[in-house]
C-alpha cells in the first residue's frame, strides 16, 4: 500500500485532534477509563481533606509487611485489637478489654456490634482466621508472632492468646495487627482484596490510582465515633519541594515529613504552620572495629568515648537540624518507659577527647572511614555527618566521609563490608526498648556490630520479665553499661514535623503515625 505524504499528514493531524478531544472530554467530566482528579486544586476547591506523603504505599494488605508509609492508610481502613491514643497510651479498640490472666496467657473480650465495610460481623472466629492468615509462612511477621503459640476461642466474643514464653510486650505487638474480613477476603483472594480493601476502620475505600492517590470516604456504620473529615485523599508527592508548594498553594492540608529547614517558611505563611513532637526514631553512628575498611583503633573503648566527647551534638541539633531533634544519652529514646533520666548525654569536651586518645596511645589521632546514606528517612544526614567530621578533625581524627546510595549501603552493611563508623537510624512503634536492643545491640542480630554476651543476657532477661519495675531496672543497668563502653556515637531522637493548614487540628504523634480519624478542621 502506498501512502502519500499529504495523507500521512492528514491522518496524523486527525489522530492528534482526536486524542486532544478525548483528553478535553475527560477533563470535562465525561467518564473515561482513567481515574478523575476532581481534587486537582485540593481542599480549596472541594472541601475534602488531602494528605500528601512522600512514598507510594508498599503493602495495602496489612498482614504483609508494615511500613511507616502505609500506616496512615491502614489506620483509616482497618482497626486492630489494641491501638495507641495520641498520647501514646495503649487503648483497647476492637478488643473491649484485655488482661494478662497467666504468665503465658492473655484474655480478650471483643467489642460487640462491630461490622466490616461490607456488613460482615466481627466475632472471635474472625480473629482466629486472621491469625491463621497472618502466620502463613510466606508473609509471617516474626516481630508480631515470634512469641505467639496459639489462640483459644471461648465464645463469640471472648478468646485467649497463649504465648510460648511470658511476653510483656504482647499488647505492643498487636498495635498494628489489623483485622481483615474473613468471608470477603476468602471470596476475592489477596489480589482482589488489595484492589478493593475492606476493614472495620473509620473510612472505606473508594478508589486508587497507583503512585498517584487513594480516595476514602467516612464509613457511616463505624462502631465508634464517626470521623470528622468525610472525604479523604492520600496523595503521593515524592518531591519535598513540591509537597511544600502544594501546602502553600492550598492543595493539601497536611504534609509529612516537613524538612526542619522549612519550618520557618511554613510558619511565615499566614495559612500554614508547622507542628512537631519528639519521636522514638533515633539517629546514631555505629562503631565497627572489625570493618574490612579498617578502624581497629575503635576496639579500645577510650577511643570510642573520645569520639563521643569530640562531637558537638548539641550544636548539630541546634544549627543543622534547627533544634528539631532531642539529644539522648544512649540509644534509648525518652519515649520508652525505661529511659534513665539520671544519665546525661556526653558533653562536648575536645580536651577530654584528646586526653583519652593520648591514654589510648593515639596522641596524633588516626584516620578512619565513615559512611552515611545519601537518601534517607532522616533529614540532613549528610550535613550532620559533615559537622561531626569537622569536630573530629579538631582532636586529630581524620575522617573520610562517603555518602552512599541507601540500597548500596544496605548491601555493604549486610555483606559486612561497611565502614568502621556509619550513620544509621532505628525506630519502631513499640515504644519499648526491646526492639531497639534486640535489633542493634544483641550479638545474634545481623544489625549488631558491637555487643557483649553479658549484654545479651540482660536483653534476654528483660524480654521475659512481666514486672515493669524489674524490666526498667534491667534496662537502666544496660544503658549505664553501653554509656560507658559505647557501641555508637550517641546522637538524637528526631522530631516528627508536620506541615499543616492553620485550620487543621492535629496532635503530632511520637510513633510516626498520622491518624486521619483524629484530625479536625476548624
Amino acid at each position: 500500500m502506498k501512502i502519500r505524504r499529504r495523507e500521512l499528514l492528514r491522518w496524523s493531524a486527525g489522530a492528534l485532534g482526536a486524542s486532544f478531544g478525548a483528553r478535553m472530554a475527560c477533563a470535562a467530566g465525561v467518564p473515561s477509563g482513567r481515574p478523575q482528579a476532581a481534587y486537582a486544586m485540593g481542599p480549596r476547591a472541594t472541601g475534602g481533606f488531602v494528605y500528601a506523603q512522600s512514598s507510594e504505599f508498599h503493602e495495602i494488605n496489612p498482614h504483609r509487611e508494615l511500613w511507616s508509609d502505609d500506616s496512615s492508610l491502614h489506620f483509616c481502613l482497618f482497626d486492630s485489637l489494641i491501638e495507641r491514643a495520641d498520647n501514646m497510651q495503649l487503648i483497647p479498640v476492637l478488643a473491649e478489654s484485655y488482661q494478662n490472666t497467666g504468665p503465658r496467657e492473655w484474655s480478650f473480650k471483643l467489642r460487640r456490634g462491630v461490622k466490616f465495610h461490607d456488613g460482615e460481623p466481627l466475632t472471635a472466629e474472625t480473629i482466629r482466621w486472621n491469625i491463621q492468615d497472618a502466620v502463613r509462612t510466606d508473609i509471617k511477621r516474626d516481630v508480631t508472632w515470634q512469641a505467639f503459640d496459639h489462640i483459644e476461642v471461648v465464645d463469640d466474643y471472648t478468646f485467649k492468646f497463649v504465648t510460648k514464653n511470658p511476653d510483656p510486650v504482647l499488647p505492643q505487638r498487636l498495635v498494628r495487627f489489623f483485622i481483615l474480613p474473613q468471608k470477603y477476603y476468602s471470596r476475592v483472594g489477596e489480589q482482589g482484596f488489595i484492589a478493593q480493601p475492606v476493614g472495620t476502620g473509620p473510612y472505606r475505600f473508594i478508589e486508587r490510582a497507583p503512585d498517584s492517590y487513594v480516595k476514602l470516604q467516612a464509613f457511616d456504620d463505624y462502631w465508634g465515633q464517626n470521623a470528622s473529615l468525610r472525604d479523604v485523599v492520600f496523595r503521593i508527592v515524592p518531591d519535598p519541594a513540591t509537597r511544600l508548594s502544594a501546602l502553600a498553594a492550598g492543595e493539601v492540608d497536611l504534609i509529612t515529613p516537613l524538612p526542619p529547614d522549612q519550618v520557618k517558611n511554613v510558619n511565615a505563611n499566614a495559612l500554614t504552620k508547622a507542628v512537631w513532637v519528639s519521636s522514638d526514631r533515633i539517629a546514631y553512628c555505629q562503631f565497627w572495629p572489625e570493618s574490612p575498611q579498617g578502624g581497629r583503633e575503635l576496639r579500645d573503648k577510650r577511643v570510642r568515648q573520645a569520639i563521643n566527647y569530640a562531637v558537638n551534638v548539641d550544636n548539630v541539633v541546634k544549627y543543622v537540624l534547627n533544634g528539631l531533634s532531642t539529644r539522648i544519652p544512649t540509644i534509648f529514646p525518652k519515649t520508652t518507659f525505661a529511659y534513665d533520666t539520671s544519665l546525661k548525654p556526653y558533653p562536648y569536651n575536645p580536651d577530654k577527647a584528646r586526653a583519652l586518645l593520648r591514654e589510648a596511645g593515639l596522641p596524633n589521632g588516626f584516620s578512619v572511614n565513615m559512611e552515611v546514606p545519601a537518601n534517607f528517612i532522616l533529614p540532613a544526614t549528610n550535613e550532620v555527618c559533615q559537622a561531626m567530621v569537622g569536630d573530629l578533625a579538631k582532636v586529630g581524627i581524620k575522617v573520610s566521609l562517603k555518602a552512599v546510595e541507601l540500597g548500596t549501603m544496605v548491601k555493604l552493611r549486610d555483606s559486612k563490608q561497611i565502614a568502621p563508623i556509619y550513620f544509621w537510624s532505628w525506630g519502631t512503634d513499640f515504644l519499648d526498648p526491646e526492639p531497639f536492643v534486640r535489633g542493634i545491640l544483641y550479638t545474634k542480630s545481623p544489625y549488631t556490630f558491637y555487643g557483649k554476651p553479658e549484654w545479651d543476657q540482660m536483653i534476654d532477661a528483660a524480654a521475659t520479665q512481666l514486672n515493669t519495675a524489674q524490666r526498667a531496672a534491667t534496662y537502666k543497668k544496660l544503658q549505664a553499661e553501653i554509656y560507658d563502653d559505647p557501641p555508637y556515637i550517641f546522637l538524637y531522637a528526631i522530631d516528627n514535623v508536620y506541615g499543616i493548614r492553620r485550620n487543621i487540628q492535629v496532635t503530632p504523634r511520637t510513633d510516626e503515625r498520622v491518624i486521619v480519624a483524629h484530625i479536625r478542621r476548624t
Binding site: A40, D138, R141, V143, A209, D211, P238, A249, L406
Partner: protein
C-alpha cells in the same frame, strides 16, 4: 519496505536481548532486594531467608538468568517483587501517563519552537532574533530540576492558576509539559533558524518568490518542507527519549509515568520490574527511531528512490 521491516525486527530482538541481559547483570550487583523489601527494625534473619527462597533469590545467579531468558522468550517479564503482580500490566499501566506527558511536551516544543525559529531566521539580526536566540540558549541551559519548581512557585503558589502536581486534568498537564518541552523547544528553535537561513538563500526560493508567491507560502511550502527532515529527526529522537519516561519531571510533578516506576523499581531493587521497564524503554526507543527512518521516505522523494 518489507525486508527493511524484517531487518529492523531482528535488530529489535537483539537490542531487547542485550539490554535486558545487561540490566539483569547490573542489577544483581546493586544489592539484595529482600533487605529493601522488609523494614529492618521489624525483621528477623529467618524472615529474610524465607522471603529470599520465595522469590527464588537463593538459586545460583546463572539459574536465575536461564529462568529469566526462558520467560523472556515467551513474553513473560516475571512478577514484581514489590507489588506481587506481573510486570507487563504494571509497566503498561504507566504508558498512558507517559504518552500524555511526552505528547504534550513535544506538542509544546513543535508549536512554539518551529514558529520561533522561522521568525528568528526571517528577521535575522533584529532585536526579535537576538531575543529568540537568547531564550533558546537559556532553554537549552536551564535544567528541568530548576525550571519545574520555579514554574510551580510562579503559577501554582503565587497566582493559583494551575495545580502544583498530580494527574487527571488538563490543568495538571500544563506545567510538566512546559518544563519537559522547554529543552526540545529550544533545540527546535535553533535548528529551524539555522536551516531556514540556509534554505532562504537557495535558488528555488528565489524562483518561488519571482513567480509571485507570497512570503508565507514560500516559507511553508518550500522552505520548511526542505527543513522537514532535520525537524522530524530531532523530534523523533526526543520522542524516543521521552517515551522512556522523564524521571526528574515526573518526580517533581508527581506524575505517575514510566520514569518514576523505573526509579522506584531500582530503589527497591525490584529486579523483574526494573528489567521489564528497561525492555519497554528500549522497545520504544527502537520503534521511534524506526518510524523516523520510515518518515524520511514520505518526506523526501529522493530517499524513496535511493
Amino acid at each position: 519496505m518489507v525486508p527493511l521491516i524484517v531487518r529492523r525486527c531482528w535488530g529489535l530482538v537483539l537490542v531487547l536481548l542485550s539490554v535486558s541481559s545487561v540490566a539483569f547483570v547490573v542489577l544483581r550487583f546493586t544489592g539484595d532486594p529482600v533487605q529493601m523489601m522488609l523494614p529492618p527494625e521489624e525483621t528477623t534473619p529467618e524472615q529474610v531467608t524465607r522471603l529470599r527462597h520465595l522469590l527464588g533469590l537463593d538459586k545460583p545467579v546463572w539459574i536465575q538468568y536461564a529462568d529469566f531468558l526462558k520467560n523472556l522468550a515467551t513474553g513473560n517479564l516475571g512478577e514484581s517483587y514489590r507489588y506481587g503482580t506481573p510486570v507487563t500490566p504494571l509497566v503498561l499501566a504507566r504508558v498512558p501517563a507517559t504518552l500524555e506527558l511526552a505528547g504534550a511536551a513535544i506538542a509544546v516544543a513543535v508549536a512554539v519552537g518551529i514558529p520561533l525559529g522561522v521568525v528568528s531566521a526571517v528577521r535575522k539580526d533584529s532585536a526579535l532574533d537576538v531575543f529568540v536566540s537568547s531564550v533558546s540558549f537559556l532553554g537549552i541551559a536551564v535544567p528541568v530540576f530548576w525550571l519545574g519548581p520555579v514554574l510551580i512557585l510562579l503559577f501554582a503558589v503565587r497566582v493559583h492558576w494551575l495545580p502544583t502536581s498530580g494527574t487527571g486534568t488538563w490543568q495538571q498537564l500544563v506545567l510538566p509539559a512546559v518544563s519537559l518541552g522547554t529543552y526540545p523547544l529550544a533545540q527546535l528553535a535553533r535548528l529551524v533558524r539555522s536551516d531556514v537561513l540556509d534554505v532562504l538563500s537557495e535558488d528555488f526560493v528565489r524562483t518561488a518568490r519571482s513567480k509571485g508567491l507570497d512570503e508565507r507560502a514560500v516559507l511553508t511550502r518550500h522552505v520548511l518542507r526542505k527543513s522537514a527532515l532535520s525537524i522530524v529527526t530531532l523530534v523523533g529522537l526526543n520522542v524516543g527519549v521521552l517515551m522512556g519516561g522523564a524521571i526528574i519531571t515526573e518526580t517533581i510533578f508527581a506524575w505517575p509515568g514510566i520514569g518514576r516506576l523505573v526509579v522506584q523499581a531500582i530503589s527497591f531493587r525490584d529486579f523483574p520490574l526494573a528489567q521489564g521497564a528497561v525492555v519497554y524503554i528500549a522497545l520504544m526507543t527502537v520503534v521511534a527511531n524506526f518510524l523516523v527512518d520510515l518518515s524520511y521516505g514520505f518526506l523526501d522523494p529522493r530517499v524513496r528512490t535511493t
